[in-house]
């Protein structure tokens, strides 16, 4: 096999591939099955905030951030995360100390069954990292890949706009 200047070659050893990745700021070494999807690996390793919805890249419930960009964990092989920086909902805040975006979702009543919310929160984070002061149109565009079957896509938009205000106003908890 030719030598690469990229991340190299990952070979299967005894049915597993060893990968190293950064999840929520912590270096991790995982052994994954060669054809395992990132969503399966994340959930097995305890990152259950990434939800399994359609398993086909259509619903956005498995949204995570890969190198800061929103990505669908159900459409990536776990091995593709080798050497990448991942952010899951577990990396944003805790029940005691929620991230301002999470706090905004609670305050606006944007959460009903909650299944889609981790994806929505992370999609919102990706938007606000890039555009700290979005208008409603920008928020709707940023969230148009995250489906919600409970609500009418009103409260989440309000939540994202409130989160932007919170983050800009330094009211982060």
């Amino acid at each position: 096999m030719a030598k690469t200047k990229g991340r190299g070659v990952l070979k299967t050893v005894e049915g597993r591939i060893s990968i190293r990745l950064d999840i929520n700021g912590k270096d991790q070494a995982w052994k994954v099955e060669p054809g395992e999807y990132l969503l399966d690996a994340l959930r097995r390793e305890g990152y259950k905030g990434a939800k399994r919805g359609c398993d086909n890249g259509d619903c956005g419930t498995c949204t995570i951030l890969v190198d800061g960009k929103p990505a669908l964990a159900c459409m990536m092989f776990a091995a593709q995360a080798h050497g990448r920086r991942l952010t899951t909902i577990e990396g944003l805040g805790t029940t005691d100390r929620p991230h301002p975006i999470q706090q905004a979702f609670v305050e606006t009543g944007a959460v009903q069954c909650g299944f889609c919310i981790p994806g929505m929160v992370l999609a919102t984070k990706a938007l606000l990292d890039e555009d700290p002061d979005p208008d409603e149109k920008a928020v709707r565009r940023a969230l148009d890949g995250n489906l919600c079957r409970c609500t009418g896509y009103v409260k989440q938009v309000e939540a994202a706009l409130l989160a932007a205000k919170k983050l800009q106003g330094g009211k982060a908890s």
């Binding site: 030719a2 991340r7 190299g8 054809g35 890249g57 929103p70 092989f77 050497g83």
Partner: protein, 283 residues
């Protein structure tokens, strides 16, 4: 879970990736954005070649060309300040109307081009802007007119023999006036019923050169030669746009074999072309 995969390779150059792909042939598959391919692997695939490390994420212009790297995400095209200024921003607008935010974040130009589904937004735009595609087979690079890439024989070789390196658009198109329109369930529905892209090179209120491309209706994005011929040298007016509309409808009906199921799409395509032309004439 695909248990037939044995290794993942992350090459650092297109040449290396293409050489690896040619060496492993049907036992390898290349993945870039992975919006579709990762869920549709053939059982023969033992090696996944992930192109994410290739230095092909550029959008830049030189004296001759606008160069768009194959690894640029659709979202990056949408947000590119350079593309917002190019040919009336038609590339950025087409990118912005493709699918949803997550798909735009993951999907790449190379994937959109090499899996040139008739509904994809970028192929009609690239065709209308006289783009060429740079491909590599690991030994040499090949420059192909965009229309050639869309031919079934060539399409089969992209991702099996060749890797798309970049899409290049002639610098002269920078000042062209262009417009696009599509009919779909929503503004960003991937599966448009029909779409149309028009690019016009104007001089003194007349059409010096024009490209009219229809997507979605035919198996691949197609230039409408008769509509273009009707416009050549004519004034940039509503009468010219209406003449082109009629010519396009007749040509498209002929290309679809007069199929009843396509009759409405042909009519709507003509209307979209007229609207695009009016927008481009005024742009």
């Amino acid at each position: 879970m695909k248990n037939n995969i044995k290794q993942f390779c992350f090459p650092g150059s297109a040449k290396e990736a293409a050489a690896l792909m040619n060496k492993l042939k049907h036992k390898a598959v290349v993945v870039a954005g992975g919006t579709r391919l990762s869920r549709a692997l053939l059982p023969s695939v033992e090696t996944v070649i992930d192109l994410a490390d290739l230095p092909l994420k550029h959008v830049k212009a030189d004296r001759k060309w606008l160069r768009i790297g194959a690894l640029c995400s659709i979202a990056e095209l949408e947000k590119s300040p350079l593309l917002a200024q190019w040919a009336g921003g038609v590339i950025a607008r087409a990118a912005g109307q493709w699918s949803n935010a997550l798909a735009r974040s993951m999907g790449t130009v190379g994937g959109n081009v090499s899996r040139a589904h008739p509904h994809n937004n970028l192929p009609p735009v690239f065709l209308a802007l006289d783009a060429v595609v740079v491909c590599s087979d690991g030994r040499a690079e090949k420059v192909l007119p965009f229309a050639r890439i869309l031919e079934p024989a060539m399409m089969r070789q992209i991702g099996t023999r060749y890797i798309v390196v970049e899409v290049c658009i002639p610098a002269a198109t920078r000042t062209w006036s262009a417009a696009l329109a599509r009919l779909a369930i929503t503004k960003t529905s991937w599966e448009a019923y029909t779409s149309c892209v028009v690019a016009v090179d104007r001089k003194d209120g007349s059409v010096r050169g024009v490209r009219v491309v229809v997507g979605s209706v035919l198996p691949r994005a197609t230039r409408m030669g008769k509509a273009e011929a009707v416009l050549d040298g004519k004034p940039c007016s509503e009468a010219s746009a209406r003449a082109a509309e009629a010519a396009l409808q007749a040509e498209l009906q002929s290309l679809t074999g007069g199929a009843q199921a396509k009759a409405y799409a042909c009519r709507v395509s003509g209307v979209l072309a007229r609207r695009c032309l009016m927008e481009a004439f005024q742009g």
